[in-house]
């Protein structure tokens, strides 16, 4: 049965110019054109967007939550990457 099912697509919507496209959900469609049309009907019935991206779910490579520590921990102890790490006297303004 699974052989005959339509591919899964992820849908991203830009709500207005100036903002990123944001993931809103997924849907099934046979091709990119149908995915766009379905995304419009399913995810933008109330002016939620002015632009839609669809991408076939199988094309997305995602990081593995189990590797979270090795990927993201190194950033946690680098507090010198934040402006508050640098102590300056109060007299110094606009910095």
């Amino acid at each position: 049965m699974s052989k005959r099912s339509w591919p899964l697509w992820e849908v991203f919507i830009r709500s207005k110019n100036g903002l990123h496209h944001k993931h809103v959900g997924s849907l099934h469609a046979t091709d990119s054109q149908m995915a766009l049309e379905n995304a419009r009907d399913v995810y933008t019935r109330r002016n939620e967007g002015i632009s839609i991206w669809v991408v076939e779910s199988k094309s997305i490579t995602a990081s593995d939550p189990a590797q979270g520590e090795e990927l993201f921990e190194p950033a946690a102890d680098k507090i010198y990457r934040h402006p508050t790490f640098y102590k300056l006297p109060d007299e110094v303004k606009h910095i």
């Binding site: 005959r4 099912s5 149908m34």
Partner: protein, 316 residues
């Protein structure tokens, strides 16, 4: 990490209000509970289109007709958001739909009651969508991310459903005697099934404790039912029609309404398949699925042919 450690970490995340996302480790029971609950929720949205669809062609004005069309289209959308959330748990859409068609998966019992008059459309919007909102608002904070996010969208859209229903009731109740009687009759038929939508009493709801611990559920069935009665009773008073419950009265000491016990035998009987419309609803779903199969296959064949010819053009 061994399973005990994984389970401890998992529960810690839940306790600290950290959402669980699709690729995170989760206990198998948590996954199965969610698959069952979210897919039943999706099926309810889809089957829920049937009783209302019954009145689209007979809506009393164009204004009512466009509203009802938009509402039914929303229910389809809600079903799709929820099917897509179910799929993040690793079950195929076709399998989910197969479970509905075979009768293995359930949907909300409320949709096994018929819509006999136009007032039923008002009562459904007011009471059935009202009860659904009561259930769904806490689900916006459900521990499983994709379900919670789908619920946020659903709740935003659902509030128009309830208001259009109440507006229908209000118009009927401020109309002729016959119209008001029609509204009362609809309230009489939908009140108890609406109360049953919250599920059995807490004492008969074996999964509640676990679901609360996992923060899939935030309130018990009885808590939500009480809240629904407290909010709905004054709305019925404003309409000037009576809720069909002799035991319904304001309890000053408790700060809540007292109300009668739903007929749970009827509830279980409808779940077992003996409601007025169980067979009709399921047959309508199966018919739509089977008669649509050639469309699904043709669309796939067309996409394949188109992609083949595009490839040929690229090669040339």
């Amino acid at each position: 990490m061994n399973t005990t450690e994984l389970e401890r970490d998992f529960q810690n995340k839940i306790d600290n209000e950290i959402r669980i996302e699709p690729k995170d480790w989760m206990p198998d029971n948590y996954r199965q509970t969610l698959i069952r609950q979210i897919s039943q929720h999706a099926h309810s949205e889809i089957v829920g289109m049937l009783p209302e669809g019954n009145w689209i062609t007979r809506a009393p004005s164009l204004r009512r007709k466009v509203a009802l069309l938009a509402k039914v289209q929303d229910e389809a959308g809600h079903g799709l958001y929820l099917y897509s959330a179910t799929e993040t748990l690793g079950i195929e859409r076709d399998e989910t739909i197969e479970d509905l068609n075979s009768g293995k998966a359930k949907y909300s019992s409320i949709f096994n009651y018929p819509t006999l008059t136009w007032a039923d459309i008002g009562a459904i919007g007011w009471l059935v969508d009202g009860a659904a909102i009561m259930n769904q608002v806490p689900l916006c904070r459900c521990s499983y991310g994709p379900y919670a996010r789908a619920m946020v969208r659903v709740c935003k859209e659902e509030s128009f459903h309830q208001r259009q229903g109440y507006e229908i009731m209000l118009t009927l109740c401020r109309g002729s005697e016959a119209q008001k009687n029609m509204a009362q009759d609809a309230l009489n038929r939908w009140w108890w099934p609406a109360l049953m939508m919250f599920g059995p009493s807490d004492s008969d709801s074996p999964h509640t404790a676990q679901s609360m611990k996992w923060k899939i559920k935030r309130f018990t069935n009885d808590e939500l039912r009480q809240k629904f009665v407290d909010i709905t009773s004054p709305q019925a008073d404003f309409l000037g029609i009576s809720i069909p419950d002799d035991n319904l009265k304001w309890n000053e000491d408790e700060g809540h309404y007292d109300f009668g016990e739903p007929a749970w035998e009827e509830f279980y009987d409808v779940i077992r398949g003996n409601g007025p419309c169980n067979a009709e609803r399921l047959n309508a779903r199966k018919k739509a699925y089977n008669e649509g199969s050639w469309v699904r296959e043709a669309a796939l064949a067309y996409a394949k042919k188109k992609s083949n010819s595009e490839n040929l053009v690229q090669v040339a």
